[in-house]
């Protein structure tokens, strides 16, 4: 059970970083309030809370890549990982230790997002619990991207790739800020070849109680999550047995 000690350390490192809390919890909540205020002042239905909150929940999860990637990259660059690689921790201990603390943080972040949405008019019902479950593969996908980025890049590079590029790509191509049908064409095709729009649509379907529409979208997310997490684990294990950390 050595991985539990390592997981506990990682949880503390993540939660004690005020930037993580600001971006992970504060930013999505601010967005919900801001976009709901805009919605209240425009005649078209652009940011209805039932459509907005699933999008913001997925967008918020994209920060999990930044958190996990930065943590791993910093451990590498400060030699902390070298100390741990010289210890009896196995590859699976490392992977579980990095991934496990992020899952409850991701779920808590999504839960806070929905609870905030209740105050902005989202219906309080059991579908929100289903939406939280639907978001788990999305959380794993973003954590996997972070594990991969943190294993390969420096913490500064992770900041640029996961903090700037990924969050923007995930946001623009998810259909959160605008209806993808409004753009259509190649943009929409590309968006639906990637997992982010499917993640938002699956969560929206869960919130709406449209159960039949969940799985067709969720399979895309699960497929990407399994592939990315698998690649991340392989790359991490290779890095562990290589000479360059």
């Amino acid at each position: 059970m050595r991985f539990l000690a390592f997981a506990s350390r990682n949880r503390k490192e993540l939660l004690r970083d005020p930037l993580n809390l600001a971006f992970g919890i504060g930013f999505p909540v601010v967005l919900l309030f801001l976009l709901s205020a805009i919605q209240a002042n425009i005649p078209v239905s652009l940011f209805r809370i039932a459509r907005l909150s699933p999008g913001v929940a997925v967008f918020g999860l994209s920060f999990m890549s930044l958190f996990s990637g930065t943590l791993i990259a910093k451990d590498r660059t400060t030699s902390f990982l070298m100390r741990l690689f010289a210890s009896p921790l196995s590859a699976s201990d490392f992977i579980l230790g990095y991934v496990l603390p992020l899952l409850p943080i991701a779920l808590a972040q999504s839960a806070i997002c929905f609870v905030t949405s209740f105050f902005l008019g989202l219906s309080v019902n059991a579908n929100v619990l289903l939406a939280l479950a639907v978001l788990i593969p999305t959380a794993i996908l973003f954590i996997g991207i972070g594990l991969l980025a943190g294993t390969v890049f420096t913490d500064k590079q992770v900041g640029a790739i996961c903090g700037a590029l990924l969050t923007n790509v995930a946001a623009w191509l998810s259909g959160t800020w605008f209806d993808l049908n409004l753009v259509g064409g190649a943009f929409k095709t590309i968006a639906y070849l990637l997992p982010f729009a499917h993640a938002v649509d699956a969560t929206r379907a869960a919130i709406a109680g449209d159960y039949a529409s969940i799985l067709p979208h969720l399979w895309w997310v699960i497929g990407y999550a399994v592939a990315v997490a698998g690649i991340a684990i392989v790359v991490f294990k290779r890095k562990m047995s290589s000479d360059s950390m």
Binding site: A5, S8, K12, E13, L84, A86, S87, P88, L89, D243
Partner: protein, 245 residues
């Protein structure tokens, strides 16, 4: 005397570059052995191979009977390392850092707490028990790093340039802490400070360009080279072509 480390033709190549060239070395149990050399001499690569962080290209080393090539798990259970760069978890307190390493090496929570208290006392860290590691001075972080390496009760301890970058007072304090360990723990210490090697070690190995040029006490090395200081002996051995221990 029991042999703690027996390296036979230990070699590491990176492509065409030979980082460590057929190193043969024997270190007795309880001995403090210093590896002395300029930057790039192969000291850190040797430590990495002996701590199972880097697989030898050829040759082998046995640590208390276990091979770094075929039984790295067994080697890791009885060794610990304080890497060249200070390797601490920045957002964990001093005590939490110590408890983390104790638990990773198999202690339960209670035993880890007891061991941490002991290390805090031995290394004069009781005044900063609850302070986050990132707030400590360089000297205190290095001291914590060494305490973290010792909390697992290793039979063999590797200290990679433990006083690099420290001021004179911090260096002397660390020397005193290392002196305390002599005889109880087998220590391999790398350094490029002559005075450090002379003050702390039972024997000194001089490395240059990946080769172990000579091994002996400082008096033996001076006698061998007909010099009056260890620095002169080092310069003579490190620059003399074709010399090998």
């Amino acid at each position: 005397m029991t042999t703690a480390i027996q390296a036979t033709d230990l070699t590491k190549k990176y492509g065409a570059k030979i980082a460590v060239d057929a190193l043969n070395l024997s270190v007795e149990q309880g001995e403090l052995f210093a590896l002395l050399g300029v930057n790039g001499a192969g000291k850190t690569t040797t430590i990495k191979m002996l701590t199972c962080l880097s697989r030898p290209t050829s040759g082998d080393a046995f640590l208390l009977g276990d091979s770094v090539v075929s039984a790295p798990g067994a080697v890791k259970e009885k060794t610990n390392v304080s890497p060249q760069e200070t390797a601490v978890a920045p957002n964990l307190s001093v005590k939490e850092n110590l408890e983390l390493i104790a638990q990773i090496y198999g202690s339960d929570k209670r035993a880890a707490r007891t061991k941490a208290d002991e290390m805090l006392s031995v290394f004069g860290l009781t005044g900063v028990t609850g302070d986050r590691a990132k707030t400590l001075s360089g000297g205190m972080q290095r001291r914590l790093s060494i305490a973290m390496a010792l909390i697992s009760d290793p039979q063999i301890l590797f200290l990679d340039e433990p006083t690099l970058g420290l001021d004179v007072l911090a260096r002397r304090e660390l020397w005193a802490a290392i002196e305390e360990l002599k005889g109880r723990v087998t220590i391999v210490l790398t350094t490029h400070y002559m005075d450090e090697a002379e003050a702390l070690s039972d024997r000194i190995g001089i490395m240059s360009e990946g080769e172990l040029k000579a091994v002996g006490t400082s008096a033996e090395l001076m006698s061998k080279t007909g010099t009056r200081t260890l620095e002169d002996a080092f310069v003579s051995l490190a620059t003399e072509p074709g010399v090998r221990a």
